[in-house]
Symmetry: C2
Subunit: 464 residues, 2 copies
């Protein structure tokens, strides 16, 4: 009883504190934004410019893997369009990126019956010899089972048939599974796709080879086939497979982060970054991952420009390159702007899809948290009112760490993201135009106030 009472008291206290933070905040500075924000939100939600730009991007260029001609063409298009938007300091920051090319690939069942199985090679996987790798199958459901049956893995194709329990807990099998199996003597690896069951839909994504063990080819199969092969193994049926992959890692090629700004009217050296990544996997059209996020970030600047709202500080749009298989764009940004990271007031990333927004994740000090919580209270018409315990993103991560920059992520309804994540189905049709408009509205409202408010984010009023 004691601990239950204690827990109840804690909940009540937390609730009071949560209410108290915005209440304690002097709201004078906030009040002046009520009208401009309402205007921004109305405009963003009434206008289909962003939606048309998003569909043009995904329709025309499709998938945009680092090193592909479609990413390069999309980058040229973005630079041109940003100029046409009247944005400032439009530029490409050159970044050398890996060029992994999938090539043709197939997975054939040879025994008990010839059958072709849908598959997607994992990003950065090595290929197979031209005639493929032919071996019997061993199915395991965890690293623990692999360990226990490691003598059986020798010479086999190992399938990690790991049920999806959310991205975080399951993705380790995609990232580390290939080297774990190789260490046990496997000749190739299959993983059950990291996502809920779809329409026999394999999900690709990056693997990381460990030094000191052979690099063996690895591919994802659909949930349905993983379950099927597991049933066959449980019946004692001998399953023999042939995996053929042309996958090749070519020398690095030049790509770029795309940058555009609205220079601040009073403190141009203080910067609010809004960002997404412009590259994608080489299947689907990278619509939710992350064309939507990238276009929404870009739209922050275009909208403010079209509304002739120039904030005190600079708003910098960054369309990062190579998020999916290298983070070279993220690292380049950190290194290129190392000297000015201290003047980065906030870095925002949208890379969780542009579904119905629910708020923002935020990592920063308590004053900053109370400020963004107050700003979010003006965004009710978008749904983005909740400030979650932490925020960030893969692209802004290195800069955030190096510069101790406050970090923010757009948070959305997450129920659909991992259904299409890294699949051929990541198409613009999976996004509701109204949801996307709300994402744009919320990002623009938040970024505008942070860039414009009298005090710097994280500092009390009157300290500057």
């Amino acid at each position: 009883m004691r601990s239950l009472r204690g827990a109840a008291l804690t909940v009540v206290l937390l609730f009071v504190c949560a209410l108290a933070v915005p209440l304690a905040q002097p709201a004078t500075w906030l009040e002046t934004y009520r009208e401009p924000i309402a205007h921004i939100l109305r405009t963003a939600q009434a206008d289909d410019f962003a939606w048309r730009r998003l569909t043009y991007l995904t329709d025309t260029f499709g998938s945009r893997l680092s090193g592909s001609s479609s990413l390069a063409a999309a980058i040229e298009w973005a630079v041109e369009e940003m100029g046409a938007d009247g944005l400032e300091n439009v530029r490409k920051d050159p970044v050398m990126v890996p060029r992994w090319v999938r090539g043709r690939e197939s997975l054939e069942m040879l025994l008990p019956q010839p059958q072709s199985l849908p598959m997607l090679g994992l990003g950065m996987s090595v290929g197979t010899p031209p005639n493929g790798i032919e071996a019997d199958l061993l199915v395991v459901d965890s690293f623990v089972e692999l360990e226990r049956r490691s003598t059986e893995a020798q010479g086999k194709i190992v399938l990690f048939n790991v049920p999806y329990r959310g991205y975080g807990p399951t993705v380790a099998y995609r990232v580390n599974g290939p080297s774990q199996a190789a260490a046990a003597g496997a000749v190739a690896v299959l993983i059950r796709s990291v996502g809920p069951e779809g329409m026999r839909t394999p999900h690709t994504g990056m693997l990381i080879y460990r030094d000191g063990v052979p690099r063996i080819p690895a591919a994802a199969i659909a949930v349905e086939d993983a379950a099927r092969l597991a049933r066959m193994a449980a019946r004692g049926q001998r399953v023999r497979l042939r995996l053929a992959m042309e996958a090749t890692l070519h020398p690095d090629v030049e790509s770029a982060n795309v940058i555009a700004e609205i220079r601040g009217r009073e403190r141009p050296d203080e910067i609010v970054v809004v960002s997404g990544h412009f590259d994608s996997w080489d299947v689907g059209a990278g619509a939710t991952d992350d064309a939507g996020g990238a276009i929404a970030a870009w739209e922050v600047a275009r909208l403010l420009k079209s509304l002739q709202l120039r904030p005190r500080r600079t708003i910098r749009v960054v369309l990062f390159t190579n998020e999916e298989n290298g983070l070279r764009g993220a690292i380049d940004y950190r290194d290129r702007y190392a000297a000015t990271l201290g003047q980065h007031v906030l870095m925002v990333e949208s890379d969780a899809g542009v579904f119905a927004p629910v708020g923002f994740g935020f990592t920063g000090n308590d004053i900053g948290r109370s400020q963004v919580t107050a700003i979010a209270s003006l965004l009710a018409s978008t749904g983005a009112t909740r400030i979650a315990a932490s925020g960030g993103g893969a692209d802004i991560g290195p800069s955030v760490v190096a510069g101790r920059v406050p970090a923010m992520s757009l948070e959305v309804d997450g129920s659909k993201y991992f259904l299409v994540h890294h699949t051929a189905a990541d198409m613009v049709d999976k996004i509701e135009p109204a949801d996307f408009a709300r994402c744009v509205a919320a990002l623009t409202g938040m970024a505008y106030v942070v860039a414009d408010m009298p005090q710097r984010l994280g500092e009390a009023v009157g300290t500057q």
Copy 2:
């Protein structure tokens, strides 16, 4: 007001009639089945034998297109298993079937950007030259628009971007679209898949070439890509495509309808056929179309055998071959058994998936209708209580017509069938084991009573 009152009266009268039919039926014969049927339904729903057989079939043999080694192997397996079940007169009725082989196939966007689009060639399509067919795209939304823009179709790849409005109204574009477009001078045809939007999932299926126009290659693309290409056309973007298909129609090969019986104890020459088709398209595992229906039909006989219930009349299980691309099994059955079709009391087909059953479609006389309605009242625990206005199936169709045989189809919740229909996603995971068990139970209960009841179906009690 008059017509409203009239309508209300009609509704009331229809309702009274609907109630009156079963009430008017002397229920003595029916009552004797209450206990045996309850026992059958309990057994069918408690036992996972049928489910294990279904998963074994789809896991092991996968897709089973006419002429494929997997269909041939599955047929051998079925014959062997039927023998092991103790069924009678187990046999293969040989049937010559077409052998259409898909081969490799691809659809590439060349302009405005190189992109690969998921596709499935339509069944029985001709192939392309080895390097494919390269042409600009024309998008139309109907035969009417094709007619209106026929001068533009010359030399083009024509896409029929026809929204899915149910299978019946839309499938004409898959069946007839290729020849319609060829008549207008098109060099190849794409259709928007006949089904609701999935996970970028193309749906294959049969086309029929019209005599007198060139046979041009045809393929289905996903709903997402059809919408995308239509948006690009609407923007005035030039889209150039390359379609490559190795599809080839080889000479006919021998396949078979698989037959097994429980001979009737009193009137063995009177026959109740229960059936599904054993072939499938060459993608997915043909689980809902129609392994589920075929195994459910087979299970009728196995269950009765295991329960030692031998009905008055013969129950004949037929696993038809070549439903998908030729109906050769259906035609063979009609011709081979022409002399005995008059002794077919009822032909039942299950080919709408084995989702939650709701009843049966029935085509026959009014007495027969009242009898099957009465029998269905004993099937409440399965959900299969409704008798719809008409019933039948592609496989039983020719025999039903030739022999004026009463026809019945198992009717199920249809909400999921066309999502996976003719796609790679037609896997056993899409079926709920409990739904399948209910289908087996309902079919077995219905077939048993029709085969066993004193009067022949469609004849009044006491006429024999």
